[in-house]
């Protein structure tokens, strides 16, 4: 069967963009509800920023109670700031598809000619403002409150590590989001399950080398593991003594992870969407 016949003359049909322009439009459009929602419902500023700051402070005082060196307070502040990004991946990207399925939006995203990667990126970008704000507030206020001092050895490496970690992390988020196309209620529980174990294994509050080399390597599948390790080496006076591998090697690992996750995300999204269509999971509502 071929293309349908030409349209009737004299009737103005709507012009629709394709390709990269459609991709960008989709990202912006999907980010829009997040951004606007944050403006219209401002309670998140208290609950998503101030309260987590208090949680971070709790871990600071644990270290003070057991008389840890002051540098460890800095680890908690940095790790606490980075939890914002992990939570954004878990709740604003991956398991968000579960909510979208429940509300009926997922079906409409699927039948539209846009790319699911664009939808997911839009979700992430939309949540980025709140996420960045949370991270910055925890870093700045946490550092000020607890007297954390930094000694940045290389600003460009710091920027590079942060950027590549984010790319890899969001690539991982897209990859895991594809699995959520198949899930129902268990999606929420799996996301909930992935919080504390990742804080532990990725060394959010302590240098990961304390868990041993092999555990560190296994945990490096989560981009924040290497990202945090490199960040700590670059901003704390102890420097290289803190890291499980050198900053350069960790940057290389993060680059590989970025590539692998982004390519896998693209492939998995297509594959799992087809699987979900075959099994009729895209429109089911199984709470």
């Amino acid at each position: 069967m071929n293309e349908m016949a030409a349209r009737a003359p004299g009737v103005r049909r709507v012009r629709k963009y394709r390709g990269w322009r459609l991709f960008l439009q989709t990202v912006v459009a999907r980010a829009y509800p997040r951004v606007i929602g944050a403006q219209r419902e401002k309670s998140w500023m208290f609950f998503d920023i101030f309260l987590p700051l208090l949680s971070v402070a709790a871990y600071v005082y644990v270290y003070r109670a057991i008389q840890a060196p002051e540098e460890y307070v800095g680890f908690v502040v940095v790790g606490g700031a980075m939890t914002a990004f992990w939570l954004n991946i878990l709740w604003s990207m991956s398991s968000q598809l579960y909510w979208e399925k429940e509300q009926g939006n997922l079906a409409l995203y699927i039948i539209a000619p846009n790319s699911m990667m664009a939808i997911l990126l839009g979700m992430a970008v939309g949540g980025l403002f709140a996420t960045l704000l949370r991270a910055v507030v925890i870093m700045v206020i946490g550092s000020w409150l607890f007297g954390v001092s930094y000694s940045v050895s290389s600003a460009w490496q710091l920027a590079l590590v942060f950027l590549i970690t984010m790319v890899a992390l969001y690539g991982m988020g897209m990859m895991s989001a594809s699995v959520y196309l198949l899930l129902s209620r268990e999606a929420w529980h799996i996301s909930n399950l992935a919080q504390e174990p990742v804080y532990l294994l990725s060394g959010f509050y302590f240098p990961i080398k304390n868990l041993g080399f092999w555990v560190s390597m296994a945990a490096s599948i989560i981009p924040l593991t290497m990202g945090l390790d490199a960040l700590r080496q670059l901003i704390f006076p102890s420097g290289a003594a803190l890291g499980v591998l050198s900053v350069e090697v960790e940057i290389a690992i993060l680059l590989v992870l970025s590539l692998v996750f982004l390519v896998s995300a693209r492939w998995l999204l297509v594959y799992i969407e087809r699987l979900a269509i075959r099994e009729g999971r895209l429109t089911e509502s199984r709470r």
Partner: protein, 294 residues
Amino acid sequence: MISSLSKRLISDIRAFWRSFRLSAWLGWQIESNWADPFLFAIYSLIKPLAAVAILVVMYSIITQGDYTSPIFTYIFLGNAFYIYVGQVMTGISWAVIDDREHYKTLKYIYVAPLQIPTYLLGRGVARFLIATVSVTATLLVGVLFLHVQIDWGAVNWLLFLLALFLGGIMLAMMGLILASVLLLLAHHMWGLGEAVAGALYLFSGAIFPLEVLPPALRVIGYLMPITYWLELLRRSLVGQVAGAFPTLVNLSNGQILGILLALTIAFGLISRFTFKWCDHQARERGLIDVVTNY
């Protein structure tokens, strides 16, 4: 007059029991309806064990694994029982979002002859039971593998059970306050229960003695019923460890129990007034059946 009062009381008790029983049953149906029960079991164990492992690793790095120190038992027990705080507060407050936005049944609950606050409290029962499994597993791991110093022969079981019971009610009252607030907030705030529990971690003496906090913040800790609750649990299970920290050492068990009871009643009153006000606001603004999707 006495007869009519007692009739009224019986009627109120029946109404309370009906609302509570039904919502507890519903809460259990929802929580236990897992696609894979094995995954559910893993979830109930892995999450709390990972949370405690973070503290154990932090502790062992600094102290080179000195688990015999009383501070370790202090931290471990506080963290273990704190699981109840997150679970109960989340369980009760989450019911508002779940029923309003996902199941869209909150309006029908309102229309039915049920007591809404009691209904919300009942929804927290399932989470309390799940938390009990998690707390028990955490304690077992601590005792068996990490030398948490519990002398089972010396445990004050009466104090323990009393503290646990009163603590459950206290946490339920706090959960109800959050649930009331959520009547006025969008779907996005579904994590309020955990966020508040995380924040109170700082003030409740759960993982460090209150003395570590600056004096201005310590005052908040003294106003939190969770502080006294955890202290009672520690005293009942590991009296000698609790005594090693001077926070509440000048107060007897009876006094702490009395303070906990008074604060529970106070929070109960606060929750009552908060619910009334938020409920009124929600009805005024037509929020009972709103679906924000955001």
